[in-house]
Subunit: 473 residues, 2 copies
């Protein structure tokens, strides 16, 4: 009987909340069904991976990928599709790297070949390769302790593994990647002649994993070549070093940095029906490393983002705000595309209220991380029940993504799709980042999950307390 | 200031709850760390898969797997390890199956070979194979509509695909598997001479997926051979049938059912320190189909269950209740092991308060489903925050597992580990259910998640309202 005493207006609110929620639940169902039964992401990825392949910035393949994705967006009947010019670095691996461990047994010299690859941005070795003694370290502090007397003229071997007991493999990556990124700069302070880095990979296998590194202010003459070694071979080298400190390591790599070249971000837009000057973007990066197909990093994010606009259309959703897909160029070794997009947006005074990035692989989506204020985050949390049927549970504050980062304002919402991370670093930046490692359904669930979030933010608006009107209706 | 008015005993309860939760959080952290940095599950699976292989009931490999897992359990220093005899069916595939579609083009006959495999329990075709016209149906109702006049003397081709828009692939499987399980019985009512079933697989690929089927009361003479066809070839056959209703399908299979043979459940036990007569079991099934290695189905569940007892030990947990690992024989084509275990438990009056099964693949664990009363389920829900750091969010009422099912009582708790299901049916019962499809970390996270649940149920007891004492302390 107590219920009857509730004020009528409260009942009204409860009723309308339920109705909204039911409508939204129906729309989400339609979106997921569209993606799982009529998605295009997998077909697009098949083409990007198997007909084009690795798409390093400045390469012919990157150009092909620009043309292909623009053509495909053109077919979707969006309101606008265009290319945004951006100058990007051009680094070329050249002929495949070669490396071996040389140890002496009595009077005989034994060589054991190992799997390496040049790090992106590294200089080449001398034409005949580089051979030197090796000093193994786990971190930069050890370099300091060892000092110049123990390092000069040697190859520094960084061998700190990713921490296996961290649940998020990205956290484990974050705890190791400075070895790769800054290892050469740090080692050259002590007169090292080269750098070998344990691959950022939680598995033990034979794939070397590339990735970017920088020389900073180091004069060109002081730049030392850096390569990644597979985890199996890192273990081998470490074991052999324990038995024989005087072994030598030989490697030869043939990479080269060229002048910047012209490339493009690829952009498509559905213009908003009510607030055309409020922009919501979804994106991934079109460039990839050169060793594999770049299927997970970030072909997956590219095709999922493309399909968000298509899934909105085929689900009969007409956005109030302008929704853009942005395929960023050069995330891997420069972030020029992300910076350029934000720069142009600022110049034009475009109000970007929301940006969602998918750049963590095409695995089963678990949720999102958000970079936003509390009001927007609470708004997101109120949508959690809508995502439960799709096993999307993870809604946390945290980073969003490298390419959308430069768009940050005080009031907008940046978000990153968070797929299951366990297998990501098995493939990341390695020659086994290939199409066969992507599961169609996992990819499609990601595209649907992104579309659902875009739908909700478009419908209810971003930062409702500041806007006022959205929270009332 | 209001807080100071709270009764002291309430503060005491809150304090003790927090302390418990903190301790439990620490224990779970230790368990997950132990599994991810010092787990044995992956090594054991490597041996089971690559040194033994597929373990069909009654086969030499099944016997090897019994011996191997018993030996490994013996090494763990458990309180008791033993084999429980059970008679199991023995069905043998024999020489690889062969099939083609025969169509006529003008005066020429064209044959297209397709990928099939006999369903488990099926009879062989005649020695020279079986060739007949084909009638395609989606379900048993269509058989009825078509009637004997359209089916007699033909091969029935069941081609209802798994429903792609269901998020749980197990639900999609449940909606299709009657074609495989009862397809032959139903088709033979209308005089069909054979059955071809679309593989239970959401992907389009070339792997035929086997699985059990029954003839029920059908006299031996009336039993018709049944085979699964790969999804790609199901699509092909369907398309060719649309163009040419008079095509013929040929298949030859050489399988045979033998008399039951002796096999074993493998059991290990840590005897409880306080309530040794309360049993909590964890298990998976040791048998598998013969086409692949049975890595996901259910090598994963076997090695995870074995590691639960080991992880408890190395994490310094001394269970109050008796914890058993049970490796069931013959889940796939008879469930004899599960039935036998429950039968013996009943005979001995053993009180099984808890049983957890892992038989849904070695993929990233998402949570559990429970078959229990509300009191126990609410107890589980109170532990949800403890699992959140490990991204374990799914706690739902629902089925547990086939092997532990026969242990159900009114008060006990049956549970099933629920890993991510998206890739499961890519491999299920097919030749690509192999070790390389299992990710080490995903497998280990599953073992840790199982161990954590066992730890909590052991510590707090099952069904606290009925027991009384657990809820007070």
């Amino acid at each position: 009987m107590r219920k009857l005493k509730w004020p009528i207006y409260l009942l009204g609110i409860i009723f309308s909340i339920n109705t909204y929620a039911q409508n939204d639940a129906e729309v989400l169902k339609k979106i997921y069904k569209a993606s799982l039964t009529n998605g295009k992401s997998y077909d697009w990825l098949n083409y990007l991976s198997n007909q084009i392949g690795g798409r390093l910035s400045g390469s012919l393949n990157a150009e092909k990928a620009v043309n292909y994705t623009k053509e495909e967006l053109d077919k979707l009947g969006l309101d606008k599709v265009w290319l945004q010019p951006v100058m990007v670095p051009k680094w070329v691996r050249g002929f495949k790297e070669y490396a071996y461990i040389e140890s002496e047994k009595g009077k005989r010299t034994k060589t054991t070949t190992v799997n390496i690859c040049a790090l992106g941005g590294s200089v080449a070795t001398p034409a005949l390769g580089l051979k030197a003694h090796v000093v193994e370290v786990k971190n930069f502090e050890e370099l300091k302790t060892l000092g110049k007397e123990n390092i000069e003229g040697k190859i520094v071997f960084y061998n700190r593994p990713m921490q296996a007991d961290l649940i998020s493999t990205f956290e484990a990556y974050g705890g190791c990647v400075n070895q790769r990124y800054k290892g050469a700069v740090e080692a050259s302070k002590y007169g090292a002649v080269g750098v070998i880095v344990r691959s950022m990979n939680l598995r033990l296998d034979d794939f070397p994993h590339t990735g970017s590194m920088i020389y900073g202010d180091l004069p060109v003459a002081d730049r030392i070549p850096s390569a990644a070694i597979s985890t199996n071979d890192a273990e081998l080298l470490s074991t052999m070093l324990k038995l024989n400190k005087s072994l030598k390591f030989y490697f030869k790599q043939n990479c080269k940095q060229f002048k910047d070249v012209l490339s493009y971000n690829v952009i498509g837009q559905i213009t908003g029906s009510e607030f055309p000057n409020e922009y919501m973007i979804v994106g991934g990066h079109l460039d990839s490393w050169d060793l594999g197909d770049g299927s997970h990093d970030d072909g997956a994010g590219v095709v999922q983002s493309m399909d968000v606009l298509r899934l909105l259309k085929i689900s009969g959703i007409k956005p109030k705000r302008s929704i853009r897909v942005v395929l960023f160029m050069n995330e891997e070794n420069g972030l020029r595309g992300g910076k350029k997009y934000a720069e142009v947006a600022r110049q034009k005074g475009e109000n970007h209220v929301f940006a969602l990035e998918s750049d963590a692989g095409g695995f089963t989506p678990r949720g999102f991380s958000f970079d936003c204020n509390d009001a927007s985050f609470n708004q997101v949390l109120s949508w959690q029940p809508l995502f439960k049927p799709y096993l999307i549970h993870y809604f946390e504050k945290g980073g969003s993504g490298a390419d959308v980062g430069p768009l940050k304002t005080k009031t907008n919402v940046l978000a990153g799709l968070r797929p299951d991370s366990q297998r990501y670093f098995d493939h990341h930046h390695a020659s086994n980042d290939t199409f066969d490692a992507v599961n169609k359904r996992e990819l499609e669930l990601g595209a649907a999950t992104m579309t659902a979030l875009v739908y909700l933010f478009d419908k209810y608006g971003v930062n409702p307390i500041a806007n006022g009107k959205q929270i009332k209706k």
